[in-house]
Symmetry: C2
Subunit: 386 residues, 2 copies
């Protein structure tokens, strides 16, 4: 009965347990090189956002010589990367008052952990903690460039009030930071170019307001993978933060930031059943392995829970994972055409490209590295938690 | 400035890092007791599905004296629970041919790991592996009761063909198994009652077909939390599999299976900013902590990414987490009414009830146990991976 499952006995990465997260090193390397080349042409240093990869070795490869440090999304990441020697970090989530003692403790240990905030009440908390703990917090003021989440308006009086309150408590006001998350909603190149320029000009306006109020504001930090990709100029910007570019994903492909063939991570799965009447197939990767992210649902092409590739990572027609349960996925044609009864074999392995690489990667403890030679792979773990 | 954040310095569970997953032990205990009492009245043993809790101590509490064993969704769960002494397990995902050697190895070690399959090709793989490895696999045949995923039809000739092929290879055909996942889509009590009866009658019809073909089919295993809750009778059924009932969630509440006040897990978070213009608030729990599950989106009431409670777990009006980023959530009124500028305080802690407890719990490494007395808590970990 070996004709059903020849791939099982090959001594290669295709013997990995399923589902597993694969990382195509060649694709990743090209993504990193392309992104760095682009920022090099724009003349702005890159501060990688590590919330996507959450691994030190990958992050080292993402840091050009002039990288000032990294961006983190949790204190768990801060600790993990500091333990690997990366001291300069921005914790890019508005600081929770309950975390200030933890931040101060890490600064005492030598971590240059910059925090962000976007309102005067939080500034008051930081000032209070600075006095109570004798800690000179380093603070970036978060600016709202898209009206979607938080941030001071660039001309808000509150921005200057917050800077003054922090300064009076001995904190260091480093400058401004913004993230144009709305760029993910763009549906045209024009929109993306405008979003990039809006991100830049909003950050610069806020930095200018701070400078006029007497704060030197040495940092003007912006960034997202789409805006960095479509920016015409980044004049005045001191660093770009981005993370998704390292792996790319279907949402980025939908935006025109990359091609599907650039996506470096995929979920390896095995065909476990067929729905002959429906012309669909079952795989052993559900939302637990793919994530519940449906980021392409609002784009021109909806890829369900992911796009289907063969075991070598080559795209297969218009096949998607139409629906998922916890450990099951249903592979179907995107247009609803039934698949032929011999389209797949039970036991065959498929790779699924993610809608959103941050979410899919977060569903796994680490990566199996694969290259084009299909050699047995090496494992890299991810840090997790908060 | 202590007036902003009184809760921070209390020596209680409200000092936990945020975001954290809380488990209200009293609510969970009532959920377990209610579910077991109901199955007791129906006269059917419970085989808990551990994919929801993924913890041994919680699972022990879910196993009545007559529980035949547990249901698992991954081999990682199988290993973890076997290491804690639970031998009788159903691995309730159609077996991937690539996992048969792993299953045989575990059976050699004393695990009574039953596998399932839903097609003759998979039966052929199992028969081949049984002969090759000298392993007497124990197999349940999966029956399709809702047309949504996989399964033999109860009257399919292929069902009998598969049983015969397995039997001829020395495998043990234990009977049938089905899961009426479509019950989650019901919008009325009548639909749920009918779904439960359909799940029962379909499984019985398949068992009857096997028996007529000469297989004793000692197991007739069905189950889901909604169908178990609404079944009028389970005559002929030998065990019920269910897991969600232990925690409950907003999807279950939307179905009428529980009340929101019964939901035992929640994500503890902290208010980190306000969007004064929009009348919304930012918290430090995003999709990484809440999951991307949007299970209530198709129900009568859409709770976004979760329903908002105060730090003691009491529901707050109609507040929901309207949208999320990786580590940010936006708290808003469900009807779009702006919240008052003094509705929350920066630094205040909130608990978020999950749409889907399996998905939200899977976002965390474990649980902080909390009771009504708000005493400092104990930590329970979860197994993870595949």
């Amino acid at each position: 009965m070996c004709e059903y499952g020849g791939s099982m006995t090959e001594p290669s990465v295709y013997n990995l347990p399923t589902p597993s997260l694969l990382l195509d090193v060649n694709r990743m390397t090209r993504n990193i090189q392309d992104f760095e080349a682009r920022l090099g042409r724009l003349g702005v240093p890159l501060r990688p956002h590590v919330k996507t990869c959450k691994n030190f070795e990958l992050t080292r490869n993402m840091m050009p010589d002039n990288a000032p440090g990294i961006t983190v999304s949790t204190l768990a990441e801060a600790d993990y990367f500091f333990s690997h020697g990366i001291e300069d970090q921005i914790y890019a989530v508005g600081i929770a008052p309950g975390k200030l003692d933890d931040v101060a403790e890490r600064m005492d240990q030598g971590m240059r952990l910059k925090i962000i905030l976007d309102n005067t009440i939080s500034a008051g908390f930081v000032a209070e903690a600075a006095r109570r703990l004798g800690c000179r917090f380093e603070v970036l003021l978060e600016i709202d460039s898209d009206g979607q989440r938080g941030g001071f308006g660039p001309n808000d009086a509150a921005l200057i009030d917050a800077a003054r309150e922090l300064d009076a408590a001995g904190c260091r006001v480093l400058g401004v930071l913004t993230h144009m998350g709305a760029s993910y909603n763009c549906r045209s190149r024009k929109c993306l170019v405008e979003a990039a320029e809006h991100e830049r000009s909003t950050a610069l306006a806020a930095a200018q307001a701070l400078r006029q109020a007497g704060f030197d504001s040495p940092m003007v930090s912006i960034g997202s993978t789409p805006t960095a990709r479509f920016a015409k100029t980044l004049d005045g910007i001191t660093e770009v933060r981005a993370g998704t570019y390292v792996f790319m994903d279907l949402v980025m492909a939908g935006l025109g930031v990359c091609k599907p063939e650039d996506i470096a991570i995929s979920v390896l799965s095995e065909v476990i059943g067929h729905r002959l009447d429906a012309g669909e197939w079952l795989i052993d990767a559900g939302w637990m392995a793919l994530s519940r992210d449906r980021g392409t649902a609002s784009q021109a092409i909806d890829y369900g829970y992911g796009r289907v590739c063969d075991d070598a990572g080559r795209l297969i027609d218009d096949l998607v994972v139409r629906s998922t349960n916890q450990e099951h996925g249903i592979v179907a044609d995107r247009h609803g055409r039934p698949l032929a009864a011999d389209r797949f074999r039970i036991g065959q392995r498929l790779r699924i490209l993610p809608n959103h690489c941050c979410a899919t990667a977060a569903s796994h403890a680490g990566y199996w590295l694969v290259g084009e030679d299909r050699e047995p792979s090496r494992w890299l773990d991810r840090c997790s938690g908060w």
